[in-house]
């Protein structure tokens, strides 16, 4: 067996794949945060709770309504996205234009409500979601075993991330969004329905979180607290990348996942803290973040 720094190649690549999967979730979530922040100037603290909600929607749909994985992958983001639009329309809109910290506090309160409610209803331990039949098993690549579902997660997340990037950077709708980020008042003067754009943007960001939740359901236990701890890491990822660019959010998310995977191989004790340490280093040398503009 090939050894790299005394580590079998298969183990190393296996951990890198795990890291890449975590990175895919970081990318999806930080992308949603960045899109929402761009237009609403709000850091969505409820993002983790909505990710959890996406996973639960898939689980409950399977248990009670017979909604299979592939349908859940579409329906759950739609349902959770609709909930997000309702939240924006009825709660966040009331504090638009006020100090941005109020948005953080309001969504923090929402996260407490959602998570507390789900803990009460489903307990903290969580349930497991079966891997869809199509993706059971895997491929032996010779040097490592590649589980089908995990490969699918990486591919699906990357496709959605880059589709989102394409939509924002290359389409007409995306140009509205970018213009709204620059100057919402002028946009409104040009006859664009900015409030609607804001609602749709929040809904889309939230739907991305729910999509990540469904993707995560067959890998991680579906529990009410699955989002909270992940979200704090994603915050660190956002600080590292800066929220200036869409591509920056995606790249930073994936890179942090890979770094975490490598740390698991070489110094497992630090695996849970390495992203925060990277954040400290970035703050020391490039306070605006790797892709950030000084805000």
């Amino acid at each position: 067996m090939t050894l790299i720094f005394g580590i079998p190649l298969g183990v190393l690549l296996g951990q890198l794949l795990l890291g890449l999967i975590n990175g895919a979730f970081y990318a999806l979530l930080s992308l949603g945060l960045a899109i929402i922040f761009g237009l609403l100037r709000i850091i969505n603290f409820a993002h983790g709770a909505l990710y959890m909600l996406g996973a639960f929607a898939a689980l409950l749909g399977l248990q009670h309504l017979g909604v299979n994985y592939w349908m859940a992958l579409v329906l759950s983001p739609l349902v959770v996205g609709a909930l997000g639009m309702a939240i924006e329309r009825h709660l966040l809109r009331r504090i638009a234009g006020e100090d941005h910290l109020y948005g953080l506090l309001l969504t923090f309160g929402l996260a407490l409500i959602l998570e507390g409610g789900f803990v009460k209803l489903f307990g903290v331990s969580g349930a497991s979601y079966p891997t869809p039949d199509l993706l059971k098993g895997g491929v032996n690549l010779g040097f490592m075993f590649l589980p089908g579902y995990r490969a699918w997660v990486v591919v699906a997340a990357l496709v959605v991330c880059f589709a989102t990037w394409f939509m924002i950077e290359r389409t007409r709708l995306g140009s509205y969004l970018r213009a709204g980020t620059e100057n919402p008042k002028l946009m409104q003067a040009f006859g664009i329905n900015v409030p609607l754009l804001i609602t749709l943007t929040y809904g889309y960001g939230v739907a991305l979180a729910a999509f990540a939740g469904v993707l995560a359901a067959p890998i991680y236990p579906v529990s009410p607290t699955m989002g909270a701890n992940l979200l704090i890491v994603v915050f660190a990822v956002v600080v590292i990348g800066g929220m200036g660019s869409i591509m920056g959010a995606i790249v930073t998310g994936l890179a942090m996942g890979l770094i975490e995977g490598l740390t698991k191989v070489f110094y497992p004790q630090a695996a849970s803290t390495v992203v925060f340490l990277v954040m400290v280093i970035v703050l020391l040398f490039r306070p605006a973040g790797l892709f950030g503009k000084e805000a």
Binding site: I113, G116, V238
Partner: protein
């Protein structure tokens, strides 16, 4: 808020302005003395352990308010300071049985201050929401360190921390003796905060909060002022955590969890951000609510209820209880 703009006016009419400030100060001191009187006799009517918990959280919230209310910095990582104070004090008092209590608390407080210096140096490099996210992430880093570190007892925490003897003389194992010690600690912490807020330094801090570019153009070293506020706040939070550990003879991961950082924000917001007594009132309401709920049928819903209060505070009740009362008094009596 207006002190900077009012400066020329104050220079023209020193006597009027000074008289007004003196009167305000007299009212403040009188009110605080009355509160202290109530606190001195309170253990006759209320269970002292509950009162001690309240005082510890009140000090925590007051320290937090110094940062949010007067420097305009929202820290989402104050749980780290509360836990650090608790763990260091708990560890020292457990390991060295001859150590007198106040030295153990002092060590925990200093440790939190040093940690606060580290947090502050990193976090003040960014502003607004980034500041909040950075402090949250750093606190999570500290949380994971405490989960793994050998001296914290991991999931079990440090249990059975001895209360010890104050100055090596006064036995603190009785709840009443402990209560008066905690009250003294609180009064000390509260006095430090008051002194800070009403000092020239506190005025500069408020100026930075209200208009940072202007404070910079006036030549103030904004970063240093913010950092000092952060360190004072972290140190006093450590004092609260250390004292809490001695009271309950327990230091646990609960104190380090981000829920704790959220709770102190809620206390301050509910009581009234940037008011002197708001954090006291907010801590009182939240602690009372928690202990009331945990014994009742709604015990499992605590986080949901706190979340609802959070949302309502932000949407409808931003001035908080004390801010609202103050408005009411001004409208009707002046």
């Amino acid at each position: 808020m207006s002190s900077v703009e009012n400066l020329p006016l104050a220079a023209l009419q020193p006597s009027v302005e000074q008289e007004r400030m003196r009167a305000a100060r007299r009212r403040r001191v009188g009110f605080c003395l009355a509160l202290l009187g109530v606190a001195l006799v309170a253990p006759l009517a209320i269970y002292p352990v509950f009162l001690m918990k309240l005082l510890c959280f009140a000090l925590f919230a007051c320290a937090f308010n110094l940062l949010l209310g007067y420097a305009g910095l929202l820290s989402f990582g104050h749980a780290a300071f509360l836990a650090t104070g608790g763990y260091v004090t708990g560890y020292l008092l457990s390991q060295y049985s001859g150590l007198s209590t106040e030295l153990g608390i002092l060590a925990g407080t200093v440790a939190s201050g040093v940690l606060g210096l580290g947090f502050g140096l990193l976090a003040i490099r960014r502003q607004g929401i980034y500041f909040a996210m950075i402090t949250l992430a750093l606190a999570q880093l500290v949380f994971f360190v405490y989960v793994q570190a050998p001296f914290t007892g991991g999931e079990n925490g440090l249990q059975g921390v001895p209360r010890g003897h104050l100055f090596g003389l006064i036995d603190l194992s009785s709840n009443l003796a402990m209560y008066y010690f905690v009250l003294a600690v609180f009064v000390f912490g509260f006095a430090v905060i008051q002194r800070t807020i009403h000092s020239p330094y506190g005025q500069v801090l408020k100026a930075i909060r209200d208009n940072e570019p202007r404070a910079i153009s006036l030549g103030y070293n904004v970063a240093a002022h913010k950092l000092l506020a952060f360190v004072i706040s972290a140190t006093l939070t450590g004092l609260a955590g250390a004292t809490k550990t001695v009271v309950f003879q327990l230091a646990s991961l609960t104190d380090a969890h981000w829920h704790m950082s959220g709770e102190v924000i809620l206390m301050t917001l509910l009581g009234g951000v940037g008011t002197v007594l708001g954090p006291l009132v907010g801590a009182g309401v939240v602690v009372t609510l928690q202990s009331y709920l945990s014994n009742g049928p709604l015990g499992d819903w605590v986080h949901v209820i706190l979340g609802v209060i959070f949302v309502l505070c932000v949407l409808l009740f931003r001035a908080g209880i004390v801010g609202w009362l103050r408005k009411l008094v001004r409208r009707n009596f002046k």
